[in-house]
């Protein structure tokens, strides 16, 4: 039986190794500095890059972070510091259910709510969709981080005559920031890699993000680029898909390693 279990273990790791290897081989050969600064090429034209997609991902993930972190942290503060009882349980339940909503559903939702209302695809719609993806992760990891802070620290603050908001903002939260940042990093990695939620919200474009139009235009992203270029029969574009996938997985690897290291060095 142990042999079977061991075989299963190996079978589980094989796909991971195969994928990472293939990515490494294909990706490294396709990466060059031009990839970061040039625009996507038309079919069968060599060269080019996806600088616009990188920038687009950065912009939309930033928008998503700006929306989801304040809401997520405050919600976690509610769950950990303010409440007890049934309401907290319902909110936790809702958070977990929200994290299970397929990202394509989120994309379709944002399409109806934002894209149709403003009659345009935009980086804002894409960022908003990503923020819904990030929100449950941030709420969950922040609540865990806050729960790690011992009650005695709060008692000390209350004992000294601090208001609740002072205890939370100036004593508890600062102590939890390393763990919260780890959660935010993980959420960012998740958002950066998601395609389905961006497909009908930010769509895609061959051009750089348009600041003059206040980003209210279709915006390129790494995740959508991988999809678009993976399904076409043109080798030059497929190469770029590998390069973009390589960058995405590098980001994922980095954030996973960082979060592991940060967790092992916790103060509490």
């Amino acid at each position: 039986m142990s042999g079977i279990a061991g075989t299963f273990m190996v079978m589980a790791i094989i796909p991971l190794i195969l994928i990472l290897l293939y990515l490494l081989i294909q990706g490294i050969s396709s990466i060059s500095p031009s990839v970061f600064v040039e625009l996507p090429p038309p079919p069968m034209v060599d060269g080019g890059g996806f600088g616009n997609a990188i920038l687009g991902t950065v912009i939309m993930v930033s928008i998503a972070t700006l929306i989801s972190v304040p809401i997520g942290v405050l919600a976690a503060i509610f769950l950990s510091e303010y409440s007890g009882g049934q309401l907290a349980n319902w909110i936790r339940f809702a958070t977990n259910v929200l994290s299970g909503v397929p990202s394509i559903i989120i994309g379709v939702f944002v399409y109806g709510a934002i894209v149709l209302s403003f009659k345009t695809y935009s980086a804002w719609a894409g960022g908003f969709a990503l923020s819904i993806l990030m929100l449950p992760i941030i709420v969950r990891t922040t609540e865990e981080a806050l729960k790690l802070i011992p009650q005695e620290v709060r008692q000390a603050s209350v004992g000294i005559g601090a208001n609740d908001f002072q205890t939370i903002l100036f004593v508890v939260l600062p102590a939890a920031i390393p763990a919260i940042l780890t959660g935010v990093t993980l959420a960012i990695a998740r958002a950066a890699g998601d395609t389905a939620s961006l497909m009908f919200t930010a769509l895609f474009t061959q051009f750089w993000p348009n600041w003059e139009n206040k980003l209210a235009e279709p915006t390129a992203s790494l995740a959508v680029l991988v999809f678009n270029f993976a399904i076409v029969p043109f080798k030059n574009q497929q190469q770029l898909a590998w390069a973009a996938a390589f960058i995405l997985v590098l980001l994922v690897l980095l954030t996973s390693v960082i979060s592991r290291l940060a967790t092992s060095k916790r103060q509490f």
Partner: protein, 299 residues
């Protein structure tokens, strides 16, 4: 009785502080409610946009397999079939393997350092973006399968296989947690009774951890049902109802992914109807999974 001197009298907080305290508390409450609000908004929004199609096609939508934008005839039988079948095949593969992995990583077979690395690697599997799985599937998995099976191109088989890889981490992580949380005393009781390691695992530890494991399997099912990109890139996107796993098929999520961008008019509403069906199915599975998992935590 001494009178209260003005010097020692305890007064009220400065109003600024009281206001800040109240405002902050309300900000936290509203943010927490916003989460539930988003959930409700999502379901409502999709439902409202699906209404035209719902009123026009009714429940028959779920049982017809024609998808014809030209004649505005829509039915999602094939996508429903594909969604369910691909998820079940994926579960059939990943549950045994995931359990095996969980057992290996929760027993004391391996030194801690190696265990940590392996746990990390399985976590990594979960973090790889769906679209990257799809990319790999197109250029590596499908050609490989073409060499050894009747598969000719995209189809149910590669989609189900890649799905099983993607949901494996969910099963193994939750199962591992459930196994680790089984009281040490129980294992020792098994050994004390003369049971072998595997007898202890199969007849004592696994049953005790079963509610957690089942919860994990349900969460994995939820994930499989909603998985989009990798499946879209590998399943072939055919609305013909083929029973062979070597033939192309469709899932609700890939239907949406493929058709949404160019859809207009009633087609959009039909797609919204399909999205609503998917949303309801995944919500139901996820909510049930939550209930099962929290039952575990109550033990």
């Amino acid at each position: 009785m001494t009178s209260i001197s003005e010097q020692t009298r305890i007064g009220s907080r400065p109003p600024v502080e009281k206001t800040a305290d109240t405002v902050f508390r309300w900000a936290a409450i509203i943010s927490a409610l916003a989460i539930a609000g988003f959930l409700i908004w999502i379901v409502l929004q999709i439902f409202i946009q699906a209404l035209p199609a719902i009123t026009q096609f009714g429940l028959g939508f779920l049982f017809k397999s024609t998808w014809n934008p030209v004649r505005n005839e829509y039915g999602i039988l094939t996508p429903i079939y594909g969604t369910i079948v691909s998820s079940i095949i994926a579960l059939l593969i990943s549950v045994p393997i995931g359990l095996g992995v969980a057992i290996v990583l929760s027993e004391d077979y391996l030194p801690t350092k190696i265990q940590t690395i392996l746990v990390f690697l399985v976590e990594l599997l979960a973090a790889i973006p769906s679209v990257v799985y799809g990319l790999w599937g197109i250029f590596v998995l499908i050609p490989f399968l073409r060499g050894i099976t009747p598969l000719r191109g995209p189809g149910m088989l590669p989609a189900a296989l890649i799905l099983s890889v993607m949901i494996l981490p969910t099963i193994s992580a939750i199962a591992r947690d459930a196994l680790i949380n089984v009281d040490v005393g129980l294992r020792q009781a098994g050994v004390g009774l003369g049971a072998t390691r595997w007898e202890t695992i199969l007849w004592i530890v696994l049953p005790t951890a079963s509610s957690g494991i089942i919860g994990g399997i349900m969460l994995a099912l939820g994930r499989a049902l909603g998985e989009t990109m990798a499946v879209t890139m590998l399943i072939g996107n055919s609305n013909q109802l083929n029973l062979s796993i070597f033939q192309p098929s469709n899932t609700i999520s890939s239907l949406l992914a493929n058709q949404f961008a160019e859809a207009s008019g009633l087609q959009v509403s039909a797609l919204m109807y399909a999205a609503f069906v998917l949303a309801v199915i995944t919500l139901a599975v996820n909510m049930l999974a939550q209930v099962v998992v929290t039952q575990l935590q109550k033990i």
